[in-house]
């Protein structure tokens, strides 16, 4: 997937959970990514963050540390 599209999708998720009350946003973004992003999408996200993560919401970067490691 194009990096722009991935950044857009990940940030959309962060935006939703940021709007929710409580302070578990990072965990909830992480859970959402683990539940709905196929391993190669999560892998791409991790690789992208390792490169520079430009444009990603900081909440996504935090969540990426907490999501399940992609299998394979």
């Amino acid at each position: 997937m194009s990096p722009d599209k991935m950044v857009h999708m990940a940030n959309q998720i962060a935006t939703f959970f940021k709007s929710q009350p409580g302070d578990e946003a990072a965990d909830r973004v992480a859970a959402h990514l683990s539940d709905f992003w196929e391993p190669r999408m999560r892998r791409q996200l991790l690789d992208f963050i390792a490169a520079d993560g430009a444009g990603l919401d900081p909440l996504v970067i935090e969540a990426a540390k907490r999501m399940n490691a992609p299998a394979d």
Binding site: S19, Q20, F36, P70
Partner: protein, 958 residues
């Protein structure tokens, strides 16, 4: 012969059933007890006594015009009509006596004297109530000479001024006025059942005639929507299906389910041998109660269309012509390619797309193919592009991914919100049932950018129409909640009892913030604050409140958030858990609900259970003897992305046309073109098949057994009406493909697949074919706790326990208008066509809609120099296409609208790849576009048509 014996009585009881206190009376000496309000005619019928009748039928309220049904009642003078006389306690009725017999004979004599006596050659011969009644009353001679009449073309050598020629303008039925007895059943059916009011009785007495529309209208030009209710109600051959005129009256019938929309109407398929003659909505069908729309009743001709492909075909690459081969060769070719791909690119390089048009059993097998044979979770379905946000949103708030009510519930509703849905076009039978309730006085709130028909049509007018700007659903819903909370209209007792109070407190604080007030959001949403306040008050205080919504809610980047907002609104007003209320997603395709239930989504196994749960995986691991991948799989857009990236190489698509139905056509095409093995399993060489290497012919719903699950969670039987022309039902083809890959499946009938579903999926635990056949249909959950199914959900408590309020912050979509693309495009459908149109385009339904048009407001059209009917170019940042314009005030200034039923239009070349944040459901309903005059199709359209023609070539057989 494989007739399905109907355990129900199909007798016409004359007048509709009533509910009321029991009343006991005596009819011809027999005692019978019926509910108060029942007619004497119906009571007699309950007792097994049929009183002769012509103007009465049990789908319509009694009218009392023919006087054939007269009876004698002790203590009453004269001979009252039994259809209009309600029963009273202790009443003593005689249905036969010299006196009534004489009256009836006289009545029949009058009718027959003005009727052409050509029964033997009449299409209704053997299926005509006038004939039956002539027999029943013992009519033996007609004393009147044929004088002035309506049936002779010429009289005394001159033209008969009373004769009106046949109207054959409707493609599916004919109107022959010479046979009409002016019983007005058709007029009343159009009003009471369909709610269109297209027919009237013109003139008086002997001169009265049935007339569609205005004086110079015929059926086609009138308001008639061709639902066929009048044809069904007509007791004579006056209104008659053309198929019956052509093929003769049917001799056997099979009860089955419509394969078009999510209403899931039950039908009697009526045949001679294996030739389908007509489809008649089945009066015991609980979704439709004997009604249907033009698609289900009439648009089945595609089953025999010459375009249908009946032999398997393969090709090495998509630039080659197709080669017809045997099933064995096609399956062997496919299996070898798929296995080769997995060896080279790993097990996650393959996937499947299940069909929302196929049966539950077929869908179950396709996802099983991914999970048990491909050993991954790469399965998705077209629900991705329509109702996936419903699954997520209702799952989060209520704990289950489905509507809360049955359709009957609408009969108890007092206030209805219809949001982002157009029931009279997309869910016509539900639309008719809703209109009936509105005519009885229920109030309607329409939240939609377009002025849909429900906003104002015959005898129906919305109390409030909130014409919001596309993309601002969340802001509007939250503003409604703001009004309800800040004006103290919330049902706190319900909330305390049924929901998590702390979550509610947080939610209430959020919505009460003045920035969510209608005044604050007016500029953004375009909805006048006062109108929004009034609508919110009506909903909160008007009694039973029900919300019905469609794709105008889900197909947005905040689709899931809007669904949660709708759920919040229902909880906030205590509108959950009883008849007349609830949250009701109107599903697009016939089996969208079922395909989701069956585990078509890549993150969940059948019954909406996440693949990460080891206990759930274990159930299937034990049943299937394989290890289930605990990682979620790819969704359709993700598959296409991965294909472009080169890691996803093979796809089995059953009964879907993603190239036409999915957004951003160029991206879909690029994804498909990058794959090494695309298997299309369908009736026709659809658009996706242009990129396919293997084509497996599919079967229609008339050619297989199975079940569909409609929008009310109702599991309906689909029955094999005729043998599959292509040789195999779709489930057999999937099984053969799995077995070609070494699976060793041994299903011999879909009932065995249902048994496997029941054994593995708790909400289906009690479902069997026997139960469905016995009950007619079953609504899941159906298990030990609900052995007969569940019409209403969340009655005492939510599926998840406490209902959960979720904060719904409005986030503007990134698809914004600007100087280059100043208009917002939104998309939808119309009555006569269905989805990508593969079926309906291959029927006479095209007379109503043979091309997609762009609706544009007069103001926007004028600015651009566009006139009605002109070709215009429609451009977005994704691409451009051309179609013709229709200038209308149905759309607001700044908004344009089109349908996507025709491949030539390529409307999805224009839509973008933005999608719902939670589910990737594409944002079909908002695209920033520009419209400008043009001379005709774009280069892309011409190029595409060439490519399509080239890739559909089939090599001549040697």
């Amino acid at each position: 012969m494989k007739d399905f014996i109907i355990p129900w009585n199909d007798t016409d009881m004359g007048t509709p059933a009533k509910t009321g206190a029991p009343v006991t009376l005596t009819i011809d000496g027999f005692e019978v007890t019926v509910p108060e309000g029942t007619s004497v005619m119906r009571a007699a019928s309950e007792a097994g006594i049929q009183v002769p009748k012509l103007c009465a039928t049990d789908s319509l309220e009694a009218f009392g015009s023919c006087r054939l049904c007269v009876v004698e009642i002790e203590g009453r003078r004269g001979t009252p009509s039994s259809c209009t006389t309600p029963v009273t306690e202790g009443m003593v009725v005689r249905t036969q006596s010299k006196k009534v017999q004489k009256i009836r004979r006289g009545v029949m004599e009058l009718y027959i004297s003005d009727h052409p006596l050509d029964c033997l050659t009449c299409a209704a011969n053997g299926d005509c109530e006038l004939q039956d009644m002539a027999g029943a009353v013992g009519l033996r001679d007609v004393r009147y000479a044929a004088g002035e009449n309506h049936f002779e073309v010429r009289q005394n050598g001159e033209e008969n001024p009373r004769y009106i020629a046949k109207d054959t303008s409707n493609p599916y039925f004919a109107y022959d006025p010479s046979k009409c007895i002016v019983c007005s059943r058709c007029v009343r059916a159009c009003e009471e059942v369909q709610g269109t009011f297209a027919l009237t009785i013109e003139g008086r007495g002997f001169d009265s005639r049935v007339s569609p529309g205005a004086a110079d209208d015929d059926f086609l030009t009138s308001d008639c929507v061709s639902c066929g209710a009048c044809v069904q109600a007509c007791p004579t051959g006056t209104l008659q299906e053309k198929s019956v005129i052509e093929l003769g009256t049917p001799s056997r019938s099979v009860v089955t389910t419509c394969a078009y929309c999510g209403v899931g109407c039950s039908f009697k398929a009526e045949l001679n041998g294996d030739e389908l003659v007509r489809m008649v909505p089945w009066k015991h069908g609980k979704a439709n109660r004997g009604h249907s729309c033009v698609k289900g009743r009439f648009a089945w001709g595609y089953a025999h269309h010459q375009d249908r492909i009946l032999n398997p075909m393969i090709r090495d690459s998509i630039d080659q012509p197709w080669r017809e081969v045997s099933w064995d060769e096609a399956l062997g070719f496919a299996a070898a390619r798929l296995k080769g791909i997995q060896e080279k690119h790993g097990r996650r390089s393959l996937g499947v797309i299940t069909s929302s048009r196929c049966t539950n059993e077929e869908t179950f097998l396709v996802q099983k193919l991914a999970r048990a044979v491909f050993l991954n979770n790469n399965t998705d379905t077209c629900a991705r592009v329509c109702h996936s946000p419903t699954g997520y949103g209702l799952g989060q708030t209520f704990g289950t991914s489905a509507g809360t009510q049955d359709f009957d519930s609408v009969e108890h509703t007092d206030v209805v919100i219809v949001m982002g849905a157009n029931p009279t076009d997309a869910h016509p039978v539900f639309g008719s049932r809703l209109k009936k309730r509105l005519r009885e006085g229920a109030k309607l709130i329409v939240i939609d950018p377009r002025r849909i028909d429900l906003v104002k049509s015959s005898h129906v007018e919305a109390a409030h129409h909130l014409p919001l700007k596309p993309g601002t659903n969340v802001a509007v819903i939250t503003a409604m909640a703001h009004v309800i909370v800040t004006e103290g209209l919330a049902d706190e007792a319900f909330i305390r009892d049924r929901c998590d109070w702390n979550e509610y407190a947080e939610y209430a604080e959020f919505v009460a913030d003045p920035r969510h007030s209608p005044e604050a959001t007016e500029a953004l949403t375009g909805v006048p604050a006062e109108a929004l306040r009034a609508a919110a008050r009506t909903f909160a205080t008007g009694g039973n409140g029900a919300i019905y919504y469609g794709l105008g809610v889900t197909e947005h980047s905040q689709g899931s958030t809007t669904v949660m907002g709708i759920a919040n609104l229902a909880m906030l007003t205590g509108n959950i858990g009883r008849p007349g209320v609830g949250v009701n997603p109107l599903r697009g395709q016939n089996n969208v609900q079922g395909s989701c239930d069956m585990g078509s989504f890549p993150h969940e196994l059948p019954g909406y259970r996440h693949v990460k749960n080891a206990d759930v995986r274990e159930v299937f691991e034990r049943a299937w003897g394989v290890e289930i991948d605990p990682e979620p799989g790819l969704r359709i857009p993700n598959m296409l992305d991965a294909a472009v990236d080169g890691t996803f190489k093979g796809l089995y698509v059953q009964g879907e046309d993603i190239l036409q139905s999915d957004p951003d056509t160029r991206h879909v095409a690029a994804g498909l073109a990058a794959m090494e093995c695309v298997i299309v399993h369908d009736l026709f060489l659809n658009e996706t098949a242009n990129y396919a290497h293997v084509f497996l012919p599919g079967s229609t719903f008339l050619e297989k057994d199975g079940t569909f699950t409609n929008a009310e969670r109702r599991i309906n039987m689909v029955r094999e009406v005729m043998k599959p022309l292509n040789g195999y039902a779709d489930w057999e083809v999937t099984q053969a493909l799995a077995n070609a890959m070494g699976a060793n499946w041994t299903y011999s009938h879909p009932r065995e697949i249902m048994a496997e579903i029941a054994a593995t999926t708790p909400s289906f635990a009690g479902v069997t074919y026997d139960l469905i056949t016995e009950k007619g249909s079953v609504q899941w959950p159906c298990n030990e706790a609900h052995p007969e199914g569940t019409p209403l959900m969340h009655v005492d408590e939510f599926m998840r326990g406490k209902g959960r309020f979720i904060v719904t912050e409005y986030v503007a979509t990134d698809e914004k208008t600007g100087p280059r693309f100043p208009l917002l495009l939104t998309t939808g459908r119309i009555l006569s066509q269905y989805n990508v149109g593969a079926q309906t385009r291959r029927t006479d339904n095209n007379v109503w809609h043979d091309e997609d048009m762009l609706e544009i407001h007069p103001h926007d059209a004028e600015q651009r120099g566009v006139k009605d009917g002109d070709w215009v170019k429609l451009a977005s940042r994704s691409g451009e296409t051309a179609l013709r314009a229709r200038i209308t005030e149905r759309v607001s200034p700044g908004v344009v609208y089109t349908t996507f039923h025709h491949p030539d239009t390529q409307a999805n070349v224009v839509t973008t790849d933005y999608s719902d944040w939670a589910t990737n459901c594409p944002e079909y309903k908002v695209t920033a576009v520009q419209v400008m005059p043009s001379n005709g199709p774009t280069d892309w359209q011409e190029h595409y048509n060439e490519l399509a023609a080239r890739s559909r070539r089939i090599e001549a057989a040697e």
